[in-house]
Symmetry: C2
DNA sequence: CTGAAAGCGCTTACAG
DNA sequence: CTGAAAGCGCTTACAG
C-alpha cells in the first residue's frame, strides 16, 4: 500500500487531493497540527483580534511550513468582494481603446484594483464578469449597448457600472467627451494661423455642431466644401472629398479637419492619388490622439481629442469616490472630459498656402 | 413597509441580498418557483441526464427569466473547474496581439469557454487570474517571463498554462511559430519572381537563419546589404538602411524583406525621404500580418507570417484535448505553427526593376 | 482567548 | 425521473 504524502507532515491530518494529484492544505490540516479549532486558525490567519500571540505565531508557522494557500472560492462564497474592475472591449474598437484601457489598468493597479478585459460580445462579457466576481464594470460603447439582451444583462449585474462616451443616465455612471469643444479648439487654432477657408470631413453630429459654432463665431469663409459629410459605410461620400482635392488651388480650402484617424488615413491615401501633400498643400488636424500614429504615418499630425490619461483618471475618480463613500448615498455621476490640442507638424500659417 | 422585489416573481422564495442591496438569484429560488428540488435544478442547468424534458425546459425558462448567473465560487468549491481562460497581454505588444486575442476569444467562446484578458505586468496578471478562478492561462511572452517573480507566480498557479512563442518546456504547453520557414517562404516567392539580390532588414535570429538558408539553397547573389541587422533600441542601425537606399539603382537590391510591421513603417518613412517608392523601386515583403495595415498604409503589402486564426486554433486544440483526455496522462504539448504568404501589391517580377 | 455551529451556493453520490 | 443529504473550505455571529 502506497504511503500517503500526509505522513510527511507527522500527523494524521485529512487527505485532500487536487484533481492534478497535488495535495492541498486547508485550515483543518493546520488546526489539527496546531491542536486548535479551525475557527481559531481562520482568525489567526486573517489577523482578527482575540487570538493569543503564542497561538497565532504557532499557527502562522505551520501555515507557512505547509505552504498553505487560502481557497479563494470558499472565502468568496462567504464575503462577496473582489476589488476588481472589468473592462468591456467590443470588437473592432481599434487603437484608441487599446491605449485607453492600457492607461486605465496602469492607474487602477496603482490604486489596488485588479483589472480584467473582456473582448467580443458585450452581453457575454457582462456575464463573464458576473461569473468571476468582478464588482465594477466599465463599458466602452458599441451598437450592442441598446440591445435588449445587453440591457437585461447589465440590469442583472449588481455591481457598479460605468459607461464611457455616454450622456448622463439614471442607471449607471457616465463619462462623456466634449467633442464639440474639441472641434472648436481645432478651428480656433487654424484661425489663429490665419486660415479662413476650412473644411470639416466627418459625420459625428457633435463634432459638426462644434464646427458650425466655431465657423459662425469666427465668421469664417463660406465655401461649398465647408462640410463634407462622410457617414460610416458610405464609401461613395468620399467622392466629394476627391472632388474637392481635384479643384484648382484657388478654390480649395487651406485647412482640413477630419473626424477620426481612420478618416485621416483615407484622406492621406486620396491626397497621394492626386499628388497632394500634407502639410505642403493643406494644413490638417485629426480628431483622436493615438500615440503610435507618429510611428505609422510619415508625418507628425496635429491632433485634438481627449487624452487617454484624462479619460482613465476621470473614470477612476468616480470609482474612488464610491469606494470611500456609502454607495447608497452617492447617485450616478456624470463627468465631461475636455479635449486637448496637440500641435505637431501638420498645421502651418495660411501664408504658406498663398497662391 | 417596502415590498420585496421578490414579490414580482409571484412566490415566496427566500431573500438573498448582495452587499450592494440588490437581490441575487440562486438555484433555490429557481427550485421554489419551478416546484422542484434544487438538486433537480442543478442537474437541469448543467445538462445532466435524468431530468424530464418538460421539467428541464421549465427550469431553463425560469432561470433565464430571473437572469440567473451561477455562483462560480460555490461551483468552484465543489469541482475546481471554471472553463475560463485568461490571456496575458503584456504592455506594448501592439496590433498583432490584439488580432490574435480577438480571434482567440471568438473561437474559445464558440467552444463554451469564457475568456478574459489581463493587461500590464504579467506577474500581477497571473495573480489576478488565480484570484478569479481562471483555470487556464495563456501567456504571450515578454521579458518579464524569466523573472523570478513571474516564475514563482506561474508555479503557484494550479491550472493549465500555455505559452505562445516559446520553445518546448516541461512546465507548460507551448506554441511556437516557424519563423525560419516563414522567411524562407518569402525568399522563395521573390526568387520565383526572378529576384537575385535581396536584403533582409531585422534582428530576429530565427528569421535571419531562415534568410541565410534560403539564400544558400537558391544560390542568391551576395552583396554588401544582404543582411542589415537592426536590433531593438538601436536607432543608429537604421543608418545602414539609409545608406543602402541612397546607393545608385545598379548597386541596390531589388527586393527587401522586413522583420515586422514596425520595421516596415520605418522603412517606408526612409523611402519617402529619399523619394523612393514601393513597389516601383523595390519589391517588399513584411513579416507579421495585421489586417488593418491595408487601411493604414497606402499600399497593399505582401506579408508572410502565421495567421492569427491558425495560432488561435492551435492553442485551443491543445486545450480541447486536455479537457477531454485525462490530464494526468497528457504531457505538455508543443505545436509549431506554419506561416502563410499573402501576396498583395508589393512584389513584382524582377524585370520591372531592370535598369 | 477559544471553539461549536450555521451557512455561503453549489455538485454529487445515493436512495427512492 | 426526482430529491434528501453530505460536503467543498471558509467566515462570522454566538456562546463559553
Amino acid at each position: 500500500m502506497a504511503m500517503s504524502p500526509i505522513l510527511l507532515y507527522n500527523g494524521s491530518i485529512e487527505q485532500n487531493f487536487h484533481e492534478s494529484g497535488e495535495y492541498v492544505v486547508t485550515i483543518k490540516d493546520i488546526a489539527q497540527m496546531a491542536g486548535v479549532s479551525f475557527t481559531t486558525v481562520s482568525k489567526a490567519l486573517n489577523g482578527e483580534p482575540g487570538v493569543r500571540e503564542e497561538t497565532r505565531n504557532k499557527i502562522l508557522a505551520i501555515a507557512s511550513k505547509l505552504n498553505y494557500v487560502p481557497n479563494l472560492a470558499a472565502r468568496r462564497l462567504v464575503d462577496r468582494k473582489s476589488d476588481s474592475i472589468g473592462l468591456i472591449w467590443p470588437n473592432k474598437s481599434g487603437l484608441f481603446l487599446y491605449h485607453l484601457f492600457e492607461q486605465f489598468q496602469i492607474q487602477a493597479e496603482k490604486a489596488g484594483y485588479s483589472v480584467m478585459v473582456a473582448l467580443g460580445n458585450p452581453t457575454a462579457s457582462v456575464r463573464t464578469f458576473m461569473k468571476h466576481f468582478v464588482d465594477t464594470i466599465v463599458v466602452w460603447p458599441s451598437s450592442e449597448n441598446t440591445s435588449p439582451e445587453f440591457i437585461q444583462a447589465r440590469e442583472a449585474f449588481q455591481g457598479t457600472l460605468l459607461m464611457f462616451n455616454s450622456s448622463p443616465s439614471p442607471y449607471y455612471h457616465t463619462i462623456s467627451i466634449d467633442r464639440q469643444e474639441a472641434i472648436q479648439q481645432a478651428v480656433d487654432h487654424l484661425a489663429g494661423l490665419g486660415h479662413r477657408k476650412i473644411s470639416f470631413i466627418g459625420y459625428n453630429s457633435e463634432k459638426i455642431t462644434g464646427f458650425d459654432r466655431a465657423t459662425q463665431l469666427l465668421e469664417l469663409e463660406e465655401h461649398p466644401d465647408r462640410l463634407i459629410f462622410t457617414p460610416k459605410n458610405a464609401a461613395e461620400s468620399w467622392n466629394r472629398v476627391a472632388d474637392m482635392l481635384r479643384k484648382p488651388k484657388s478654390q480649395r480650402p487651406t485647412a482640413l479637419i477630419v473626424d477620426s484617424y481612420i478618416a485621416m488615413f483615407k484622406l492621406l491615401k486620396l491626397c497621394k492619388t492626386y499628388s497632394l501633400r500634407i502639410p505642403e498643400d493643406f494644413s490638417l488636424i485629426a480628431y483622436d490622439d493615438v500615440p503610435e500614429l507618429e510611428e505609422i504615418t510619415d508625418i507628425a499630425v496635429t491632433t485634438v481629442g481627449p487624452s487617454v490619461e484624462h479619460l482613465a483618471s476621470a473614470a477612476l475618480d468616480i470609482l474612488f469616490e464610491l469606494r470611500q463613500g456609502h454607495p447608497a448615498e452617492v447617485g450616478h455621476r456624470h463627468v465631461k472630459v475636455a479635449s486637448q490640442l496637440t500641435v505637431r507638424g501638420t498645421t502651418r500659417p495660411v501664408s504658406d498656402y498663398a497662391l
